[in-house]
């Protein structure tokens, strides 16, 4: 991986962190507000099913996690376990795809 790609990864992690800061704030604030009168699956689904707004919000959230987490883990596995090289990056790409798949499955699970 050349320095350009490494620089892109750094920029992507900072940019996704900024998106996540906003998403986590909205997510937590909404949760605190939404469970005032108790919490039930039916109540949540009634708000999210067919809501394009929440679909878009959580899609952005999941994609930001997909970008952010594997890049952070790249530093962790390198510095703590000394894992370097292409195999590490392929593993993390796989992890990113897994996060995206599981996250989007959950997003569509409450939308459809």
């Amino acid at each position: 991986m050349n320095f350009r790609t490494q620089t892109f990864l750094w920029v992507a992690q900072r940019a996704s962190a900024a998106v996540l800061a906003l998403c986590v704030t909205v997510h937590l604030a909404t949760m605190v507000y939404a469970i005032r009168g108790g919490l039930s699956a039916a109540e949540i689904l009634s708000r999210t099913k067919g809501s394009v707004g929440w679909l878009m919000f959580y899609t952005v959230f999941v994609l930001a996690v997909t970008v952010h987490a594997p890049i952070g883990l790249r530093s962790v596995v390198t510095e703590w376990f000394g894992w370097r090289g292409a195999a590490r990056d392929v593993f993390l790409l796989g992890l990113a795809m897994l996060l995206a798949a599981m996250g989007m499955r959950a997003v569509f699970g409450v939308f459809l």
């Binding site: 991986m1 320095f3 350009r4 490494q6 620089t7 892109f8 920029v11 530093s75 390198t78 703590w80």
Partner: protein, 233 residues
């Protein structure tokens, strides 16, 4: 009582009783041991006045310039532990091999390279220009390796160029007379360069010259990001 590291990577601490004096520095203590108590002790110093960067050691677990560190400031219960700098191979006792530290300055393109010859007039730089102000903030580095020894990223990632080399690169990137900016940014980008810095700020905390390599590294990250996104790099 002073405990001093003896040996190389493998070794042990040896205890010495050293008399206390007013305004005594840690380097005075080490010199007393070598000259009076045990002449086989190896250590390194030159100027004794905080200019040359030769005498840095780990004192009570913290990297310090020993010639300007008073014993009063660091001694705990009349005890002191003196070890070689961390993150560098130990040659013997308190002497480390600094080749890798300075080789990384070269890898970071730490040499000034201007377009003018000696036949041309000096290039004028306004002292209050933003570039020169940034250079001034980092230019007083004496190459003591206290920052390098204090940096956790260096210990985790041996390829990492380290705070001093990156600070040097930053002062050249901001020097309007220098003509190798792009080449230098390329040399300090990526996993072995500024992008590995976690902004722990140990370098800034311990730099005896009160330089903030962290600020320079952050500046390099910005310059490189804009250069890559703008297609210059």
């Amino acid at each position: 009582m002073v405990r001093v590291w003896r040996g190389r990577a493998e070794g042990k601490y040896q205890a010495f009783e050293v008399p206390r004096h007013a305004s005594q520095t840690v380097l005075d203590v080490v010199t007393h041991i070598q000259r009076v108590l045990d002449s086989t002790l190896a250590y390194r110093f030159a100027c004794r006045v905080g200019m040359c960067g030769s005498c840095a050691m780990t004192v009570n677990g913290v990297a310090r310039w020993t010639c300007r560190t008073h014993v009063d400031k660091v001694v705990k219960n009349d005890q002191m532990e003196i070890a070689p700098l961390r993150n560098l191979p130990v040659i013997r006792d308190l002497v480390t091999d600094m080749s890798e530290f300075f080789d990384k300055w070269a890898k970071a393109k730490g040499q000034f390279s201007g377009p003018l010859t000696k036949k041309e007039d000096f290039q004028k730089v306004k002292p209050d220009s933003p570039g020169r102000v940034a250079v001034d903030a980092g230019i007083e580095c004496i190459g003591c390796a206290v920052c390098y020894s204090s940096c956790d990223v260096v210990s985790w990632n041996p390829e990492y160029l380290g705070p001093a080399a990156l600070n040097r690169a930053w002062t050249l990137v901001k020097d309007e007379r220098d003509s190798r900016k792009i080449e230098r940014l390329r040399a300090v980008a990526g996993d072995a360069g500024c992008h590995s810095c976690h902004t722990h700020m140990s370098c800034t905390e311990h730099c005896p010259k009160q330089i903030s390599p962290t600020a320079g590294i952050a500046g390099l990250k910005r310059e490189i990001a804009f250069a890559v996104l703008g297609g210059e790099l």
